[in-house]
Subunit: 358 residues, 2 copies
Amino acid sequence: MRHVTQRRKRVTQAEVARLAGVSQAMVSLVLNDSEGVRVAPETRQRVVEALRQTGYTVDIMGRRLRGKSNQIIGVFTYEAVFPSGSADFYGPFLGGIEEESEAQGFDLLLFTSPGRRQGRRKVYEEGSNRLGIADGCILLGRHTDRAELDRLVDERFPFVFIGRRESSAGPVSYVGGDYAAATAALYERLWSLGHRRVALVGYHEESESTADRRSGYLRACRRHRKTPLALTDGDPPAVFERLRADEVTAALVETTEMAAALRALATGSGLRVPEDLSIGVLGDTDPTQTSAWPLRTAPEADWTTFRIPRREMGARAVRILVAMLRGEMEPGRRTQVLLPCELVDGATVTDAPRAPRR
Amino acid sequence: MRHVTQRRKRVTQAEVARLAGVSQAMVSLVLNDSEGVRVAPETRQRVVEALRQTGYTVDIMGRRLRGKSNQIIGVFTYEAVFPSGSADFYGPFLGGIEEESEAQGFDLLLFTSPGRRQGRRKVYEEGSNRLGIADGCILLGRHTDRAELDRLVDERFPFVFIGRRESSAGPVSYVGGDYAAATAALYERLWSLGHRRVALVGYHEESESTADRRSGYLRACRRHRKTPLALTDGDPPAVFERLRADEVTAALVETTEMAAALRALATGSGLRVPEDLSIGVLGDTDPTQTSAWPLRTAPEADWTTFRIPRREMGARAVRILVAMLRGEMEPGRRTQVLLPCELVDGATVTDAPRAPRR
DNA sequence: GTCAAGCGGTAATACGTATTACCATGGGCT
DNA sequence: AGCCCATGGTAATACGTATTACCGCTTGAC
């Protein structure tokens, strides 16, 4: 029984050269058809023949080592990219990232190894930043670690965040959705339908995206000289009671979970949605996140909301990162982009009720 | 205006060494904690400090060139991982891959960089194998390139395929679904319900998965001494006519698309499903693939089928690959695994009709 | 006959890391 | 004093490729 050959060694240019009776450099020259370098046709023939015989293939590693870039974009997410449940938060983002990095000629490195602390991934483990093995990195995730972000900025590692992010350590490049404008637009839509008491229901926690929605709401309120009514989580029944007490006819709600809970409470109290209470959802946010609000929601709900251009955001982030890597950006400058969100007319918003409810 | 630092250069061991006042070799030694080599505690301290200051990260190209592993598992798919449509074929596989590689401490490298030929990705582009960047690789995709597979086997690059694959170049490691057993089991279920004329409707093309389903069907037929009736695509109406002509009471159909088309034809002809015709689907196969069969299918259809354990397949593939990389497997041997598929009782199979139809 | 120029090829080097062989120093022992 | 050995570090090298500087040869011009 013949002993199986062990791990066959790669064929190198040197071996090809030996076979053809030339130097390694000559093989490289023939392979790369360098301009301005002269190779005798007869020699080229010999080399080509040797290449064919040996079945030589370029070793990417050697080539990239020499080129100093390994053509890899890192993707860091604070949670698993492919969740076991059906909730698909990252999918669209990554779709855009994949598409664009394919177009730009980069591979994608998903950081799955880093240590998790209480189920959440960390960039810095044992002090060293594994992201560095990529040329640059795209970061995603609702649950951002402030300290890590600051440190990243500080290290001058090229990265782009998906979702607006602020850091005290300096400017951050990001591609976000323009939640403020979209929220204001949704408010305007309600206003034009006759709603005069429009409340905001959202998180208490001050993440950038929550803050943007609130600022859009506040701006719209100011514009129409209305007193804002912003309710931050607390338990759903309490929020609902508050809405009734203030004779609110429309609510702008941060997530579909919250919206579903509200609607359930409303219909439970004999109120019809949207005839008695219009509900606008401020973008379909991360469905995987945990909250005090009941998770179960009718999937077929036809919410009035705005579409977050996830795919475009991913693609745009890659383009920005690649520009940074190519040095096409004034160094030190950061790029901050907010993409418009498209209004989606659903079945949960209609004209304001004629008579004020009691 | 102060000119900011230009394009951040990779920091190398040599620079760290300079800062610490030692040689590059010393930095490498400290980093790798090589056994049997003595480093003065005080020196180690200096180096560690310099590493921290510079934010050094290892360059995978240099390291791999030197022949060491990078703790990176490559993932190669013949189509985009994150499709723009909602059809999510790769998701579950990658979920398992991600989960397991996280557990094993590996990062995931998605090969998205160049190399498409007519919309399909290629492993070998310009003769070079890009997979080599990773320590080993997992391959997925219904559309396999035979020549590439052979060449991969030949190169002895460590890889595991998801889905059974055969190569003339030698044994291939894979993790597949046991379609033969599952198909046979589905046949048995039909038999026990009184069906005596059970047809197979499937692809003509001889991919491994198609072949497995057919062999399971044939095995079951032999067992019950029935003449097989295997219909390979052709146009749906023709297939349906054939089923009627042969007084078939149950059909095992390869994909949900085919099944939906058949059902539409059946109900259009006044046959009820499942009362007059039972339909079993042989696993929910790649929904993105193109075929002669109409794509539109009622999504809420409650098919009787078997579940392909995609997530488990992904995880298992990673475990096998890691074992290969750790050298825990006899070199030259390959691991070939078929995981059982669980029967799913849906609404499209019931007792055989009493009287033969006409 | 000397020089320049053109041609065809090679040696050398850089890229970043890991590892081996080796060297300098100093202390303990005979 | 002479020797050995332990200690702590460095120089050198290999990995595979791309590129530049350079070298030897021929030929043509003067």
